[in-house]
Symmetry: C2
Subunit: 201 residues, 2 copies
Amino acid sequence: MRLTGSETSPYVRKVRVQAMEGGYWEQLDFNELGTTPIDPNAGIANPLKKVPALELGDGMVLFDSRVICEYLDGALGDGASFPAPGPARWTALRRQALGDGLLDAALLLRYETSLRPAELCWNDWCDGQTVKIDGALADMEAQAADFGDTVDIGTITTACALGYLDFRYKDKGWRETYPALGAWYAEFSQRPSMTATVPPE
Amino acid sequence: MRLTGSETSPYVRKVRVQAMEGGYWEQLDFNELGTTPIDPNAGIANPLKKVPALELGDGMVLFDSRVICEYLDGALGDGASFPAPGPARWTALRRQALGDGLLDAALLLRYETSLRPAELCWNDWCDGQTVKIDGALADMEAQAADFGDTVDIGTITTACALGYLDFRYKDKGWRETYPALGAWYAEFSQRPSMTATVPPE
């Protein structure tokens, strides 16, 4: 199976971390390709021209990261990342949605400040996305004591979201405001799956 | 359970259509609340300040539409909307991701052209989002012959995405370019769940 994506995409990182945790990363053919919303890369088999995209042997192309992670967890992994229906599943899926939501806002903020011509930037838009990022962080902080040593799609997504803040928003200083989350991430980010996927500068 | 959202949100419509198809819509307490990215509504229990949000009896708040739909399908429905792991599930989840991806692009395009001050609009951004919308439509067209009479989260999301184009992009004329998709939607959109949830002008 061929996984298309870039090493700087936090959504691609979710797939890579899960695949390393599940011990099947080496079974994937990683096709390094980047894209931006204003320069869609025609080489990406996803009709939405986003990464990650996963080409299966039968020609089917799966996307986005949520679908790919769930598929791979069952197809190549042991199913540990997506608990069976019940409280553990809703907690994991809610955490994934929260991390993805933080990332959606952080990406939109980055496009606004680093991709869009400076004279076209809109402060109200930046403020609105920042409300979402901070809301997500506060919710993660409230949950951090419950994360324990859980490694599933919920905590993997949380860690990839925090890693993206460290990558693109180095000065945000989120650890000062959210110390329990910072303590949890200090440990989780030392996992081999996380250290192997730190985005390149 | 309390569902917060607005009647104009296509993501909220997914939940409403699924709940009506599953026969449990009347069991939900619908809390009509709108929001925009630049004016986050503090009344929404979702830390990301997006709709839909679903408050469970134990105080847990689920989001986004994917998580809510899957939860409700099992908790109140008969599980027909989310097939068990296997080809039918990946097809349904891929279709949901495609419809959601179309909607993400269509919403960003609308924010760009209807919410952002006109002097701050960026044509390259609009063009990039339009590539995604058209890519999604072309993929849906290629699949339309396989939709048959399937009613699950994949076809529900597809229909809600097309309904949003009709609501906000009346002049797009997608039916001319994608006739098989148009023929499928002409039938699907007549389902009581769809006619009951047409967004108000």
